[in-house]
Symmetry: C2
Subunit: 457 residues, 2 copies
């Protein structure tokens, strides 16, 4: 079976730990594992291979986290813009053989009962081999009003229901034949594409055109922006599942959570005897039932209860338990003042490693830069800033204009404005350096890339 | 009148904004003014001059904040260790003429009714001129159990009362002739010293010995540690006021607060229409009646009420309103793990300016250093670390071994381990530089001072 992992999450519901360019699925929430990595591990036993449909900005993060798991080599399909799930799945289907059975899974859900999950997948696979479009219906354990429901009659789907009000949700849960629409699917590539062509022909056509125009290399299928933006944005539910006559539902009681809010995250994390989540750098005095997510700062609480305290280097949110659906309103508010804070952390991930902004002031900026073994930044120059590099760990191979030299621990160099330069870690250990930028304009977009290993130029 | 300002606060009750080396009275809590500065301004109109009794570590902070106000030149008495109020006041009395009237005021209280304060001081001065020891009794506006009370009979003091229980405090407030013991006093220098000699002769003798051994220079009276530690630690209340027959009390209804907790700070700060304190970098959604003190991080709240949220660069405290007396327990807990965090901020004040630790890791540390115009660091060297300096603003005059040169904006230099070096700002504007330290040991105590303008060697 071909496992298709959808990485399209937007990163606003768990802000500030998730950001647009570092969405929920890549945050290492669980014992240093991300939901994306958990998704891969969950499917390792029966996946012939993986297709990862991912925003091109997150490609290297997806690749890195896959490498950490020593998972089998996977196919990456890079979206320049998101167009919802129908086009994303179509791309994976176009990239497969017509009779391949695809298991479509979001990358940002948690499933706690592995054996029940495997049983459900087995059932779905069987139905898919009979040319069914299978959706997984999660047995609801409370009357959630934030999800769509599937009304089932045995394996048949009677209807899809929009997010209900509280009373209706109550009725659904009591009835026993209503299930949460989980966003997981299983079908043959050709069956999905036939049904997409039948019920959403425009989406099919433009997706097909986009796929055939893609630039394909050894590592990835790169969709072209001009094509992709012309696809109508549509979910698989609206485009196909709610219309097709071939839909089956497999009920699944698998310990599923979409971690759609800090409230649901609180439920899944381990807690101490006072109901506070376990977290380093935390002191609680008389406090109970709090979610605390801390970075490197010390967080102390005194006599507080039922709070969600989420700390990052540049932003902290303190919310009442039960109110965390409002985080999206908060993000909208933050965007008005500081778009960057909703997009990136002070630590940003790059194909070659990471950088952290230590200090930013008019006229200068200080970064800590970590370059992975073997990684090379682009050959570049800046119009408005000069840079100082001080190696604090490892060895840097530095090119400045026509000179290349090694810079060892405790050595420094200066890169004048307009000088062409490159940073390369040829060693077997991380290179860490402190960069002080001085200039009148210090935006990340003041960069001219002359050559780049990661095709960003 | 000679106004004596006592700066002995310990800095734990408003942790983490106050720290042992940056106590409450120096924190700029009010429109960029500290309580210490407010204390000076409050007394400007009738002070002949100021005596500031201060821990020697805080001398330059006290001097700087005085300079900012363009207050008259003052006498500083530097304590190497604290010995409570009786010895501190004795030092100020020894430094005065016998008939000088001293007004003794703590540096960390808030007084909101200036004209009532001036009236009370006038009355006290009159009584002091008649050889009375005057204490100021604050008219209680609620049954506080955390203060001592004075039972008055007209101007006479009938008795001093320890901190009462709630019922007793209630009785005191109803009775009308009980007042909070404010820690403010007024008397002739010689009257105080006579009474101290009579009722606490050991404190008097050792204080006198300490004073006569002090090293006096143009700027300050520097008490010697060996003498000072031999003084018995004692408050003026126990040593003199509770025993002397010359005590009078001046009732004062002056809008007094000792800001002994975040709860009392909340009461005094300006608030928005939802009862949240006004604070930069804050977004409230549906939240009410919260104290928020923020540094440079964005603090957001959702639907929370009655919280005290106090954020600094390395620590944040979230406490329930009414529970902030427990901050001292919290500080004791923090001390077990990280003493430094209770002593200093990541931004530390030095006689020559400030430094902020931007990043600290095994093997290296990054600081931003600001040197004031005309200021000069000590001539020094380090055994275990080398340093890189990058000037990002201003001009540094740098000495390394036998060379001295100017380092301009966007220039850098390297100071090898063991090299004697010095940093000097000869200009009219702040010098800002980024320092990267590399070494196996990076503690602040790896410093050998060969020459120092501030007599720290």
């Amino acid at each position: 079976m071909q496992v298709v992992i959808l990485c399209g999450g937007s990163g606003t519901r768990l802000w500030p730990i998730s950001r647009t360019l570092y969405p929920k699925q890549f945050v290492k929430l669980f014992e240093n594992e991300s939901l994306y990595q958990k998704t891969i591990k969950r499917n390792l036993s029966f996946a012939k291979s993986f297709s990862v449909v991912i925003n091109q900005e997150q490609y290297f993060m997806g690749l890195d986290q896959l490498d950490e798991l020593k998972a089998p080599k996977s196919q990456f399909i890079l979206e320049p813009v998101g167009r919802n799930t129908a086009p994303a799945i179509a791309m994976a289907a176009f990239a497969s053989k017509p009779d391949d059975i695809l298991l479509i899974v979001p990358s940002d859900h948690l499933i706690e009962n592995q054996s029940a999950y495997e049983d459900a997948v087995k059932k779905a696979q069987e139905l898919a081999s009979q040319d069914k479009l299978v959706t997984f219906g999660i047995k609801p354990n409370y009357a959630e009003t934030g999800y769509g429901y599937i009304e089932a009659n045995g394996l048949e789907v009677k209807s899809f229901k929009e997010k209900p009000d509280a009373a209706t949700a109550e009725k659904y849960v009591k009835a026993g034949n209503y299930f949460w629409n989980s966003g997981m699917f299983c079908f043959k590539a050709k069956v999905f594409l036939e049904e997409l062509k039948a019920y959403a022909p425009d989406v099919y056509e433009q997706s097909h055109k986009t796929f055939t125009h893609a630039r394909v290399d050894q590592s990835a299928i790169r969709l072209v922006k001009e094509d992709m933006v012309a696809i109508r944005s549509e979910s698989i539910d609206y485009a196909v599942m709610e219309k097709s006559k071939k839909v089956n539902v497999v009920p699944a009681d698998i310990g599923w959570s979409d971690l759609g809010s800090f409230d649901s995250l609180y439920e899944t994390l381990p807690k101490d005897e006072n109901g506070n989540t376990l977290s380093k750098n935390t002191i609680h005095l008389g406090s109970k039932n709090n979610l605390v997510i801390s970075d490197d700062r010390l967080i102390s609480t005194i006599d507080v209860e039922d709070l969600m305290i989420v700390d990052t280097r540049d932003a902290i949110v303190i919310a009442k338990k039960g109110s965390t659906q409002k985080v999206k309103d908060l993000v909208a508010e933050v965007k008005k003042h500081n778009v960057e804070m909703t997009n990136v952390h002070t630590t940003a991930h790059r194909p070659w490693g990471t950088y952290t902004i230590l200090e930013e002031n008019p006229g200068y900026k200080v970064k800590q830069i970590t370059v992975r073994p073997g990684a090379k930044l682009s050959l570049q120059y800046h119009h408005h800033r000069s840079e100082h590099w001080i190696v604090v760990s490892g060895v840097a191979t530095v090119t400045i204009d026509d000179k290349t030299f090694d810079l060892k621990q405790n050595e420094s160099c200066y890169i004048p404005k307009e000088a062409t330069h490159r940073l390369y870690n040829q060693q077997k250990v991380d290179l860490v350096l402190i960069e002080a930028q001085v200039g009148t304009y210090l935006g990340e977009d003041d960069i001219v890339r002359l050559q780049d290993d990661y095709k960003r130029n």
